[in-house]
Symmetry: C2
Subunit: 352 residues, 2 copies
DNA sequence: ACGTACTTGGAGAGCGCTTTCCGAAGTGTT
DNA sequence: AACACTTCGGAAAGCGCTCTCCAAGTACGT
């Protein structure tokens, strides 16, 4: 007769605390205490309650619990993309890039043992951002990990303004009092510069990422500084957008302007792959004619031929650390804002 | 004075429905109606309510809402890994593989416009599985997308038993009445076989994935069948585990046993990358000496040199479709169980 | 014996929201 | 003008859980 509100066609009403209490012959409160392992419960009752739980097949309702405890056991991973919109193909590219997976893997390595789940959120429009912040204030998630994307994103600021525990992976483009984990990008670029110079390269160019990404700028700055220190006052530069194609294009442009190039630092491995293609097309052998150093030490670096000498970016470790930082922050909201900077290392392979 | 229950240090109490009602001078119920766009509300009141919402900065509390509506606006993506355990490095590899990202990207392309968020769950142990199912029955998520991993996973069965809307990506290893989206793996393998034969290859081998993955078995079966049809009764076979290294090893083994190999079908691009390396080491040119066809058309295929001729696996589309299927299922739980099989296509590049 | 201090379990008040149930007002019909 | 019928807004009952009170029970000191 009942029309059936029906999200579960089979499943009758699920047992509640109340049911368990009835079976065990105690009050709801007592069951709650037992379930949550609060002491001050007579061992005998304790056992009766657990028996009743077994009998009824009781599982606590997380939602109801969260409503009152203000804890959800969830952390949000927000990919904030202030520039593009809902159906921008950019997001597709983003997910296909190993970057995303490595971050998730690193986060999960910490979150999973802690029994915390990850909720993925992508925000593009202003409205989505406002809404996300609203939801977070309500404790939809206990905290948030923000993945920075190109552009000057207002989200970090919004988050700190309302006091939501947050940690960024990659420092914010604008100064914001937020926790973050980042890589010493300058150092990484220096490593590449030093190696290329030591190898004896005379005309060394760089293929950089987009100008509005802090990490990208840091790599450019670090590289230039180091090159200058080695007496190379000027470095031919072409920029791409971290995709393979853009790397190929950039390399061609570089080659056209400076045919004598014998060394190149590429700001990420994917672009390096493209650059490799362009070099091959131009008849240059790597590393014999042109030495190349990539950045990230992604799986692409090993896959490339020749295998890429590259700056290792310990992304998984960084993601894991950001998760730890967030968890600590959630436990102690008064914790002072901190940042952790990782030092990159150079991984030597065939390309340089 | 109040000790402060304190997850938000700054944020006072957030405005509730009650507050909005007070400001607007109506009852909670009316505000609720307006917010949820239920008709039968006087346009004038309607406006007053929205004004009050603006004034107070009210944002509905999703948790509280979900508790009563039994709808969360969340879909769980569960990566069920019945074989390995919490700290198994396997998961790290899994996330780093583009497979994961492509799936997420495809899912989000549908989920995001629908305003639904994705919660990532990894379950390994029996206990985690039970708990997940319990949470799902309580409506922690409106439905679940299951990513199948190696092994005979009990999860799909558990899910259908309790009537949770679920869709698998990749068909279940054991027959289970569950919705799924899959690829016609046999057809894909046939495509590869046909191409290699037409190209004039005489001794064609295969590098397969692990034996307990349905997709992997299908590829083997499809390849063998097609080869047999072309008169090749026997196909040298070596198996790997979908990683690049395993592909390299497998190729070496194959070469050692059958030095005359002039064609090889590799069950995924990553292994193909490894196989390429092994071939180069052995002094064989691709495609001149040995033609190679990969599988997936992942970014690795384009990155490889020579670029890989490969069977295109429309994973994003499949993931998107699975999301659509799930959403439909959630809206109409009585929907009959269905599966969607995608046809792969061969993408011609340099390697064959 | 009484008072004090501590332990233990129950009652009940919420958490913030939706939704059914009603009564009051508005509309049209004969 | 009286009736049935529809529209609209409010009161209130929960959703399932936690947790603060409070009362009763137990142990101890004087």
């Amino acid at each position: 007769m009942t029309a059936g509100t029906g999200r579960v066609p089979v499943g009758e009403r699920l047992p509640t605390l109340e049911d368990v209490a009835r079976v065990a012959g105690v009050s709801r409160a007592t069951v709650s205490r037992v379930i949550n392992g609060i002491r001050n419960v007579d061992p005998q009752l304790h056992e009766m309650v657990w028996n009743a739980v077994g009998q009824t097949g009781y599982v606590p309702n997380r939602l109801a619990r969260s409503l009152v405890t203000r804890r959800t056991g969830t952390v949000a991973l927000v990919v904030s993309d202030s520039e593009s919109h809902d159906d921008d193909p950019f997001m597709g590219r983003f997910f296909a890039d190993p970057y995303f997976g490595r971050v998730v893997g690193g986060l999960m390595s910490v979150l999973r043992p802690a029994g915390i789940q990850l909720a993925l959120q992508i925000v593009g429009t202003e409205e989505q951002r406002t809404r996300l912040v609203g939801d977070l204030r309500h404790g939809q998630a206990d905290g948030v990990i923000v993945l920075s994307l190109p552009g000057h994103d207002p989200l970090p600021r919004m988050l700190t303004d309302v006091g939501v525990p947050a940690v960024m992976i990659g420092r914010p483009a604008d100064p914001v009092p937020i926790n973050y984990v980042d890589l010493a990008n300058e150092t990484g670029a220096s490593l590449a510069a030093d190696h290329l110079v030591e190898r004896g390269c005379q005309l060394i160019a760089m293929i950089s990422g987009p100008a509005d990404v802090p990490a990208s700028n840091d790599r450019i700055a670090g590289f230039r500084r180091s090159m200058a220190r080695h007496g190379h006052a000027w470095v031919p530069l072409a920029s791409g957008n971290f995709t393979q194609e853009s790397g190929e294009t950039a390399m061609r442009a570089l080659l056209a302007e400076n045919p004598g190039i014998d060394g190149v630092f590429v700001a990420n491995d994917l672009m390096a792959l493209g650059a490799l293609l362009a070099l091959r097309d131009a008849g240059r052998r790597v590393p014999d004619d042109v030495a190349m150093v990539g950045f990230d030490d992604s799986s692409a670096a090993v896959a490339a031929s020749p295998a890429l000498t590259t700056v290792r970016h310990p992304l998984e470790d960084m993601a894991a650390e950001s998760a730890r930082l967030l968890l600590a922050r959630i436990d102690d909201p008064s914790m002072r804002i901190s940042s952790v900077i990782y030092e990159p290392t150079l991984v030597l392979r065939q390309s340089a």
